[in-house]
Amino acid sequence: MITRLEGADKVTGRARYAADVRLPGLLHAHIVRSPYPHARIRHIDASRAERLPGVHAVLSSANSPSIPWHDASSLFDRTVRYIGDEVAAVAADSDELAADAARLIDVQYEALAFDLVGEAREPKAEARGDVARGLREADVVLEATYRTQTALHNALEPHGCTALWHGDQLTVYESTQGIFAVRDEVAEKLGLAAQNVRIITEHMGGGFGAKQIAWKHTVIAALLAQRTGRPVQLALDRASENLAAGNRNATEQRLRLGAKRDGTLSAIDARIRVEAGAYSVGGEDSDVIGTYLTLYRCANVRAEQRSLRTNAGPAVAFRAPGYAEGNFALESAIDELAARLGIDALELRLRNYATRDQREDKPYTAPESLRRCITRVAAACEWRHQRPGLGFAAHDWAAGGGWPPAEAEVEFAHGAARVIVGVQDVGTGSRTALAQLAAAELGIGVERVQVELGDTQPGLYGPTSAGSATLATLGPVVQEAARLAKKSGHARAQRGENPKGKSIRTCGAQAVELAVDRDTGEVTVKRVIAAHDCGRIVNPLLQSSQVIGGITQALGYALSEKRIVDARLGDVLNANLEEYKLPTVADIPEIVNASESMPDAEANATGVKGCGEPPIIPTAAAIANAIYSATGVRIRELPITREKLIR
């Protein structure tokens, strides 16, 4: 068994994260954030803060360039649109001093009316066939509305960076999932050429989608470093992290499913509202409609989602954005439909799962892998219809096939290799898996391979670690470069395109066993069994880590996590780890990973697909389905807290 190459560095504290960087003359920055959900800034007086000994610079709309930012706003916009919006920033000798100085900045606001409900904007919609007819011709129609909450990422490591200049050359140590995405965005915002910006991400304590884009803190740190001529570190605290660094959008999903007596789906109609917060910040899209269009074979589908803009923290991609939300509703509804039809819930899925990508009208590279996952989970949990407390859900995920282009360079001499790539290891173990692929190709031990990543400087492009893409993108190209280097001692390779005529997806299934105490409303999850198709499993330990991590996050999503916003104040009441209830070790049940290696030779030469996002997708629905089987109560809203179950 090969363990993480950087594991010892991490557990001994040797590994250096963005906020561990120590440089001579380092200053610490703190951001002043709006205390109003919507306001116009009348006046900013920073003189008291500037006079404080140890304070080196204050930036705000009063003295900094107006850099265009998301939508039609700017870096320090004179209109603030949610509690937590950036107003000003201070650089000082210490973190504490910067925070104290921030409180001395006198900002006069004119409060404006705010809106936490939001107006629906233009829908994103896709349709095929004739839904009205499909519903008319159905023997059974299920109509139900499901709701999911706003969830916060809460990566162990908050967002943060350290910025320094050498002349007109900017270097940023950043906690990011996309060194090139951040390089390009930061360069654009600062009016620099991309090659004048270097982004370094040596280690990362998770991002889960919220670190795919350049947030304001990076540009603020760069501007403060420029102004003071000193390196500046800006790390968000947990409160800022939970107010202003993204979230999983809340949804309301109105569904109608039609089916024939034999279980054939004749119509899927999904109308979805998505609470997007104050800005569209970019990054991976929350594609809630996606799974409605693809998971099951159905000729008549209409799926539309409308975003609601509100005066709350902006949503951003969160591990399987859109699919975790959509799957909860669709897979709960499929269970409800199965009960109405009198068909075994698992059997109904086996009768309807899609083997073609109906959105793109192409076959999948691995059309039967979902069946294999379903049957493996069924065997591992000894599936029996209506066994009390046992619930099941299947899922698909549009990504996982990799995002070309990408490059890799391999040097091979004296039986040792150096692999250079332009991706980051966000904590998933990319370093280790890539080293294994190179080692296998070169016929050497993995300890003889050194992987250099997380730096834009070598100029080898790699994609953002999103869409479960990293290994699927880089694996084949590292393997190819290693193959060439074995002959020539030094080679570069480019990642080829994905196959044109077929779609690559990932998919899987999970079952949950739990118990419910109806007197106290308490849910106790006893076991989760999972099987996911991620192509060839390069490293079972790393793949299991993703399965365990995804399910753990999903347990919180299903049972305890929810951002609470006061409707009259527009303020988040639990932007902390005490009242935003992540699962603890005591909440995590036995997790059985029944995944098998299923090399997908049609996807790429290495046969790998991604596994970062999938494990979070089906758990919530499997839990809701298990609760139904335990109690006969159908809960259509997350999180499933006690008050929803207590008798």
Binding site: P35, I83, E96, D100, R103, D517, D519, T520, G521, E522, T524, L559, S560, I564, D566, A567, R568, L569, D571, L573, N574, E578, E579, K581, P583, T584, V585, A586, D587, T641, R642, E643, I646, R647
Partner: protein, 325 residues
Amino acid sequence: MRAFEYTTPSTIQQAVSALGADSRALAGGTDLLTLMKAHIAAPERLVNVKMLLPRGIEARPEGLEIGALTTLAEIEQHPVIAAGYSALAQAAALAASPQIRNLATIGGNLLQRPRCWYYRNARIDCWLKGGADCPAREGENRNHAILGGGPCYAVHPSDLAAALLAFDAALWVHGRGGERAIELADFFALPAPERRTETVLSPDELVLKLRLPPHPEETRSGYLKAMDRKAWAFALAGVACVLRLSGRKIAHARIVLSGVAPIPWRARAAERELQGAMASPDRFAAAAAAAVQEAVPLRHNGYKLPLTKALVRQALTALTDPACK
């Protein structure tokens, strides 16, 4: 955090004279420092009492004595408490996390401030912090009080206080006027306009120790707590229960609720249902109903009524199970 003066007095006298309206005793700091970092509390002076006050647990003929600096971990693990005061050991074990229990003292636990999320948010003004209104009353109040609410609806966060009250504990406190004893039942008092705190301790007083009166061998006790997750969460509702049986007859009963009122809440009506009665499911149901008969739920916390009732029933059932000690 506001800058503050820090003193380490060497006698209790000195400590007491250093205390006052703008200064606070610092024990484990797990609550006080959190409040200061969040700009909810901003004392001018911290008086370090960590070397000064009694720490430790002593079983004496006149009862069990617990020094104010005794940590929750020490209470959780003490063999005499585990054997004779199970409710207290269980309450300690269910509180916070192991790391916090290693630092948190029992004195500080009784004096910790509410976890109401409006109170803990420095951007929000509220009655308990000296403001005019309580935003929780009509706001997000699923964690709030169903008993004893108004003008403040925050619940008392301590698990241990409920258990201590069920054992009829008393406190020894030291102030400018010297030492005095207070029954724990009198120590907690609903916040009122002239005193926006949960206890009657005056700012210049220190808690020295607690005493739990001795009780007969056959006493049984337990603490049940409902949380939003399996560990490391404050009580949505909790019940400490102390019982003495004579055969199947209930000779003595104390039922104290946590997580449902601004102070630990003695359910006297429930105790009356039990006192002198035969242990039976019907009796327990009657006691459970009596425990919340005066409850006035807010918009989002109605679930606390059935929850509290269920906990009372479950606690009584477990304690009167013939197989239980």
